[in-house]
């Protein structure tokens, strides 16, 4: 019978089809993945806005993970040659000639007289279809991707609007621009933190507070009545830690560093060169001053214990990398805001006196 089989041409064509089919399947699955990802993003954004606060990174990460889980199986799965043959037959009207030829080449069909016919027909078909092999890939409509951007945009909008940090920062900006009290818009946690900081500062000003005991009561600059009451009722000699450790005071572990740094920051504010600087710059300068003076101050025992003996030179530490802008945390913003309030109050009182 003399069957001449040219496996290369048929199989080569099928492999070319497979590459395109894989890409098409992948794009098709990615379209689903984008929808799934945007759906997860939207759902988490709604939960974030209505129920509980979820970190932004988690929300985005969950959406990306869901999309990846949908797209990954298709990315890893390559279409089989039979699938490619069926697709090519369907696309080019081959009436299963490639599918049957593939089975014949694999030996899964018993050899009969018709095998030679189907092989020769498949080779002729491949030769005719090869110039059109690119048409095997049908590009999916971009509409689905574009439409998927809508829920994504809505979700991101929800996330941005419901972000507490953003609300605090916007409140701080409006307070700075107007010079008026804007703490009503801040979160309760920030208010509580500010109150605790205010109490810490009041320890450093014990004498003045004691002498002018009715000063805070007579001013209208106090942010809230509750805060004033606590400030007045605070014992003059009470240590700062007692106020900080009060349950619900809004402070956390690690805030002691900022609390203990407040005299240095206060000292930094005393310098005339700070006129006209922003809150952030002032805060950063204050902290830098605190760290430089840490070896000479004795308000922290640990720092005193680590004082370098005379004659031993420590290698110069590399200066911190300068950056044009460092975003302040909410606590830092509240801290600086309280301190500015206090300073303005002191200046006002001294002018009045």
């Amino acid at each position: 019978m003399g069957i001449t089989v040219k496996k290369v041409s048929v199989l080569g064509f099928l492999k070319a089809v497979r590459r395109r089919l894989w890409f098409e399947n992948l794009l098709s699955r990615m379209r689903v993945a984008v929808w799934v990802g945007s759906g997860v993003l939207l759902a988490l954004a709604v939960i974030n806005a209505l129920l509980t606060s979820i970190p932004f990174v988690w929300v985005v990460g969950a959406a990306v993970l869901a999309a990846a889980l949908v797209a990954l199986p298709e990315m890893l799965r390559r279409p089989t040659l039979v699938e490619c043959a069926v697709r090519a037959d369907h696309q080019f009207g081959g009436h299963s000639v490639l599918t049957t030829a593939l089975d014949t080449l694999r030996g899964s069909i018993s050899r009969t007289r018709s095998c030679a016919v189907v092989i020769s027909q498949s080779e002729a078909a491949v030769a005719a279809w090869w110039p059109r092999v690119n048409s095997i890939w049908a590009a999916p409509s971009p509409t689905a991707f574009v439409l998927a951007a809508v829920p994504t945009f809505v979700a991101l909008l929800l996330l941005v609007v419901s972000s507490p940090q953003l609300r605090t920062e916007s409140a701080a900006q409006s307070q700075t621009s107007s010079g008026a009290e804007t703490v009503d818009d801040a979160d309760d946690s920030v208010v509580a933190l500010r109150d605790s900081i205010r109490r810490d500062l009041s320890v450093g000003q014990t004498e003045r507070t004691t002498l002018d005991g009715d000063r805070h009561q007579s001013t209208d600059m106090a942010p809230s009545a509750g805060a004033d009451t606590e400030l007045v009722e605070n014992p003059a000699g009470a240590p700062p830690e007692s106020a900080v450790a009060t349950p619900g005071a809004g402070t956390e572990a690690g805030d002691a560093r900022r609390t203990s740094a407040s005299p240095a920051t206060q000292a930094a504010f005393e310098q005339p060169s700070f006129a006209g600087r922003t809150e952030q710059q002032i805060q950063r300068r204050g902290e830098t001053t605190a760290s430089l003076q840490a070896g000479d101050t004795d308000f922290r025992e640990s720092l005193v214990a680590r004082r370098i003996p005379r004659g031993q030179l420590r290698p110069a530490a590399a200066p911190p990398t300068a950056s044009p802008w460092t975003a302040m945390t909410a606590a830092e913003v509240a801290y600086a805001r309280v301190y500015l309030d206090e300073r303005n109050l002191n200046e006002e009182v001294s002018l009045r006196d």
């Binding site: 039979v82 009436h95 299963s96 049957t100 089975d103 018709s114 016919v117 189907v118």
Partner: protein, 331 residues
């Protein structure tokens, strides 16, 4: 050009000639003729269902004439006995011995007219002939001629005094073909050709029994790929409401789905259709084309669906749509 390529070409030419001859006799029934030829060359039996006067008997006679095979005819009535079909022992002329006289079933193409008017006992006499191509009488088995087909007709109305065919016997028919009314143009042509004459009687034999058998054998060399086989299996399983691959329409309307014999019939018929199209491999389109006549008498609708006016053809159409969608997903 290989030998088989020539075979395919000659088969296509012969079948085309038979089709053209029959279409001159049976006017305006191209689908019917195509299905009938597919069933004949697939070696299967055909059940024709249609109202009186649509040319069912005429068609069978014309087919036998065109194929050049011997025609046997049985007109079924309630008092027809099995021996009237199979034959019986009769006393010989010299009255010294008893010999078996073959009945009308001993022909290549047997026309069983109005089969549902015969009693179940007589209908059962055809079962052995249809399945095993033999007749047993008096303990002796008599082989039927090759090729052998039964073309039965039945009337869907006037059911009084009839005996509907049991499912076991229905399953033995490869195709059940519904004959509809011809169009206006076809009726006009009908008047021109058969008003004053009987064209079927004037039809000359275009093939011989041997040639018919060669064509039947050639259809068995048509290749069926693994994907097409799986597609056929999915189609059959789709008709079974309890199957994991059951189609939605089958779950909703079908009480009993198609049998494994239906799968064999589907593939055999699809092979013939492929060969008629000049191909040596079966395609999904072949399966779809022959699915309705293969499945329509092998599926039972739920009573509720029947009362709702759901027809088996509409269910098959829906089922084929679902099957096609399933194939599209795999492509």
């Amino acid at each position: 050009m290989t030998d088989f390529t020539k075979t395919v070409e000659t088969v296509g030419r012969d079948i085309g000639a038979v089709h053209d001859a029959l279409s001159r006799v049976i006017v305006g029934q191209d689908d019917l003729l195509r299905y009938l030829l597919i069933a004949i060359f697939a070696g299967g039996h055909v059940l024709l269902e249609g109202l009186p006067g649509l040319g069912k008997t005429h068609l069978a006679k014309a087919l036998a004439a065109a194929l050049g095979v011997r025609l046997g005819r049985v007109q079924c009535t309630p008092d027809l006995l099995p021996a009237d079909i199979t034959g019986s022992d009769v006393l010989s002329a010299d009255a010294k011995s008893v010999e078996f006289r073959p009945g009308p079933v001993f022909a290549n193409l047997v026309l069983v007219d109005e089969i549902n008017r015969a009693t179940p006992r007589t209908q059962a006499a055809l079962l052995e002939a249809m399945q095993e191509f033999q007749v047993t009488y008096g303990g002796t088995a008599y082989e039927l001629p090759t090729p052998f087909w039964i073309v039965a007709t039945q009337n869907p109305i006037e059911l009084e005094g009839t005996f509907p065919l049991p499912e076991a016997q229905l399953d033995r028919f490869l195709f059940k073909i519904d004959i509809g009314y011809p169009s206006a143009d076809s009726l006009e042509e009908l008047l021109d050709t058969s008003l004053d004459s009987e064209p079927a009687d004037e039809l000359e034999a275009l093939l011989t029994t041997q040639r018919v058998q060669e064509i039947v054998n050639a259809t068995r060399e048509v290749l069926v790929s693994e994907a097409v086989r799986k597609g056929a299996i999915r189609l059959i399983l789709g008709t079974q409401p309890d199957s994991e691959f059951a189609a939605v329409s089958a779950k909703e309307h079908v009480r009993y789905g198609a049998s494994p014999r239906a799968l064999q019939a589907l593939i055999r018929a699809a092979r013939v259709r492929a060969l008629f199209s000049g191909r040596v491999q079966v395609d999904f389109d072949d399966l779809r084309a022959v699915a309705t006549p293969v499945l329509s008498h092998r599926m039972l609708l739920k009573t509720v669906s029947e009362l709702d006016g759901i027809t088996i053809d509409s269910v098959i159409r829906t089922l084929l749509g679902e099957w096609q969608d399933g194939l599209g997903q795999t492509r």
